[in-house]
C-alpha cells in the first residue's frame, strides 16, 4: 500500500469497540475538539451522535463475500459506495472516520481497503483504533470472539473507563490486552480523554512504520491456549529469498488465513537495498518496496503474526527457511 501512497489519499481511521466501551463519547470528543481539521464520519446509529455535522453519513454495515475463491474475503459494500460519494466533495474534509457497530468484526472494514481499487486509489487506511472498557473487558473476552478480534486488529487501543477499576485491575487488563496484541499502542483514558493527535493521522498502516515499534523478541509465551488470540514475532538477520518467502507466505495464508487476523513484515531481500514491506488481513495480502534501509539501521527481516492457533516452532522454521 505504501508504495503507491500519495498526499492526495484521504486518511481513514476505523473506530471500533464493544458496546458500551465509550466509542460514541470518544467520537464526540474528536468532533468537538478544536484541532482545525474536518472529518467526514460514517456511523451506524445516527441518533446516538449528539452532533450536528453535515459530514455525518448514516449507513448500514453491508458485508458481502467477494467471488474470488477466498472464503474469508468479506468486504463492506456500503463503505465502497460512501467513499465514492464523499470523494465528490473531497475539498470539504481532511479525513474520514468510520465507526463500526459494537459487535462488528473489523476484518471486512480492513479488507475493503485492500480489495477495492477505487477505495485504494483515493484513501489510505490510517489506523484501526479500538476502544475497550477497562472494567468489563475480561467478561467480554470470555463471552465473544469479537472482543478479542477488535483488539487483535487494533493499531491504537484506548483503554477507557480506567477510573472504574483499581490500579491492580488496570495492570491485569493491560497485560491481558498485551497477550492478544503486543504491538498496538495503548492509551489509558477515562471518558475518552485521549488527545486527538494520538488517534488520528497515525500512519499505522503506513508500512514504513509498521514494525518500528515491534518490541524485541519475547520468548516467554505463558498463554497459548489454542482459541485465544496471540501475537508472535520473528526476526532473521540473513537476507531472504523473495521467491521462497512468497511461496511460504502464500501457502501459509491459503492454509491458515482464517486464523491469521493480521500479518505484517519488513523484509530484506537478497540483492536489494530497499526494504520490502508486507501485510495481510486474513488471506488478503499486499506488499511493496518502501525505500532503502536507513544508515545505522540493522538490516534484518522481521515478521509479526496476530491470530489464533499460532504454532510458534512451525512458523519460526518456515520463516527461517526463507533465508537466501
Amino acid at each position: 500500500m505504501s508504495a503507491s501512497q500519495t498526499q492526495d489519499q484521504v486518511p481513514v481511521t476505523v473506530l471500533t469497540g464493544y458496546l458500551g466501551a465509550g466509542k460514541t463519547t470518544l467520537l464526540n470528543r474528536i468532533l468537538t475538539e478544536q484541532h482545525g481539521r474536518k472529518y467526514a464520519v460514517v456511523v451506524n446509529e445516527f441518533g446516538e451522535l449528539g452532533i450536528d455535522n453535515d459530514l455525518v453519513v448514516d449507513t448500514d454495515e453491508e458485508v458481502f463475500e467477494m467471488n474470488n475463491g477466498c472464503i474469508c474475503c468479506t468486504v463492506r459494500g456500503d463503505l465502497i459506495r460512501i467513499v465514492g460519494g464523499l470523494m465528490k466533495r473531497r475539498d470539504r474534509f481532511d479525513g474520514i472516520i468510520i465507526e463500526t457497530t459494537g459487535l462488528a468484526n473489523p476484518a471486512p472494514v480492513a479488507q475493503t481497503f485492500f480489495v477495492d481499487d477505487d477505495v485504494r486509489a483515493r484513501t489510505r487506511l490510517d489506523a484501526i483504533v479500538t476502544v475497550v472498557d477497562a472494567k468489563h473487558l475480561p467478561a467480554r473476552l470470555a463471552d465473544s470472539h469479537e472482543a478479542a478480534d477488535q483488539i487483535a486488529f487494533a493499531d491504537v487501543i484506548v483503554l477507557n473507563k480506567t477510573d472504574l477499576v483499581t490500579p491492580a485491575e488496570l495492570e491485569a487488563v493491560e497485560a491481558r490486552i498485551r497477550e492478544i496484541n503486543r504491538f498496538a499502542v495503548i492509551h489509558r483514558a477515562d471518558h475518552g480523554n485521549v488527545p486527538v493527535t494520538q488517534l488520528l493521522d497515525q500512519g499505522a498502516f503506513d508500512l514504513e512504520r509498521v514494525l518500528a515499534r515491534v518490541p524485541e523478541f519475547l520468548t516467554d509465551d505463558a498463554h497459548e491456549h489454542n482459541d485465544d488470540v496471540t501475537s508472535l514475532s520473528f526476526s532473521v538477520e540473513e537476507d531472504l529469498d523473495a521467491e521462497k518467502f512468497n511461496a511460504w507466505i502464500g501457502a501459509l495464508l491459503a492454509e491458515q488465513g482464517q486464523d491469521l487476523l493480521r500479518t505484517k513484515g519488513i523484509l530484506a531481500y537478497k540483492g536489494d537495498d530497499r526494504r520490502f514491506a508486507f501485510q495481510a488481513v486474513h488471506m488478503i495480502a499486499d506488499g511493496g518496496y518502501i525505500g532503502p534501509w536507513r544508515p545505522g539501521e540493522k538490516r534484518e527481516s522481521r515478521i509479526v503474526f496476530i491470530g489464533r492457533n499460532l504454532n510458534r516452532p512451525r512458523l519460526r522454521r518456515g520463516f527461517e527457511a526463507c533465508r537466501a
Binding site: 445516527f46 453535515d54 455525518v56 453519513v57 448514516d58 448500514d60 453491508e62 458481502f64 463475500e65 467477494m66 467471488n67 474470488n68 468486504v75 459494500g77 456500503d78 465502497i80 459506495r81 460512501i82 460519494g85 470523494m87 465528490k88 466533495r89 473531497r90 477495492d116 481499487d117 477505487d118
Partner: protein, 338 residues
Amino acid sequence: MSAEVLCADHILETRGTSRDLGAHVVACAFAPDGSAGFALGDGTLRIATDGEWTSIAAHDGAVLALAADGRGFVTGGDDGKLRRIAAGEATTLADFGSRWVDQVAATPTHVAAGYGKKVAVLDAAGKTLKTLEHPSTVTGLVFDAKGKRIGASHVNGASLWFVAAKTDNPRKLEWKGSHTAIAISPDGENVVTAMQENALHGWRLTDGQHMRMSGYPSKTRALSFTRSGKFLASSGAESIVLWPFFGGGPMGKAPTELAGGDNALCTYVACHPQHEAVAAGFSDGLVVLADIGSERILPVAGPREAGAVTTLAWRPDGTRLAFGTESGFAAVIDFSKK
C-alpha cells in the same frame, strides 16, 4: 492529414460550449426544453442553455444523482432530499432524512429515487405513489424503455418491479455478489448488472438464462445499450467494450473493442439515441464518438488536465452531447447539421 484532424479538441472548439465549473461533475442530463444540466459535488446544478450557463443551489452537500423528467431536472443529494429543478427554481419533492439519495431515474410520468434499501416512486406532480423495499442498499436504478418497469441492483442480484402494479412483488434476479449498476435492453428482455469483481452479469428474462461477461481490468460504472439493442456498451477497460446481444450472444462471443490503445481506462459510455454509435469518456479526459458499424472513431475533446470523464449524456433528439469530468470541466457539443 490536416492540422484540424490532429487536434483532438477540434470538435469541442468548433461545435462546443464549455466551462470549468470547479467541482466534481457527478452527472449530466438534458431537460425537455433542450438545456443541459450538470450536477456537481458542491451541491449546485449548472445549466447550459444555448451557450448561456446558470447556477442553482440544489442540495446542502453534494448532488449525488440527476435525471430529467417531463418537467425539468430531478436531483438527489447527500442531504437526504429529492428535488426538482425547473424554470430556474428548485423545489423539494421528498425528504428522506439522514439517508443519501444517490439513485434517481425518471420518465416523463414518473420519478424513482433510491435512498438506502428503499426506492420511492413518485408521479409527475411529486406525490409518492409507493415505496419499494430491497434486501440491501440500491446501487443502480433504471426504468425500462417503455417506463413500465423499474430495475434496481443490490447485493446478490437485482429486483424488477412493475410501476403500475397493485401488489408489489418484484421479480427477483439472483446472482451471488455485489451488483453496482444496472441496464435494461430496449426490448425489455435482458437485464445486465455490473459487479464488484470486474465483470457483468445478465439475465435473459424470457427463459431465465444467465449471462456472464468478464475480462475487465477495473469495475464497470457505465452500461448503455445501443438503440437497436444489438450491443451493450460498457466502461471499465482500456477501450469501449461492446457485447453482442444477437446471434446467440453475448454467450460464447467475444466483445467488440473500440478506441483502445491509449493506456487510459474508459470511464463512461453513452449510446446515441438514434444511431448505432457510442460516445465514450476516458480516464485522461478524452471524449470520442465511435461509429459501431464502421468502427470509425471521431475525437470530440481532450485529453486534458481536468481528470477522468465521469458522465456523458445525449439529448433525446441526438443532436447534443454533454460531458463532465472529475475536476469540473463540462461541455455541450452540437452535432446538428450546420
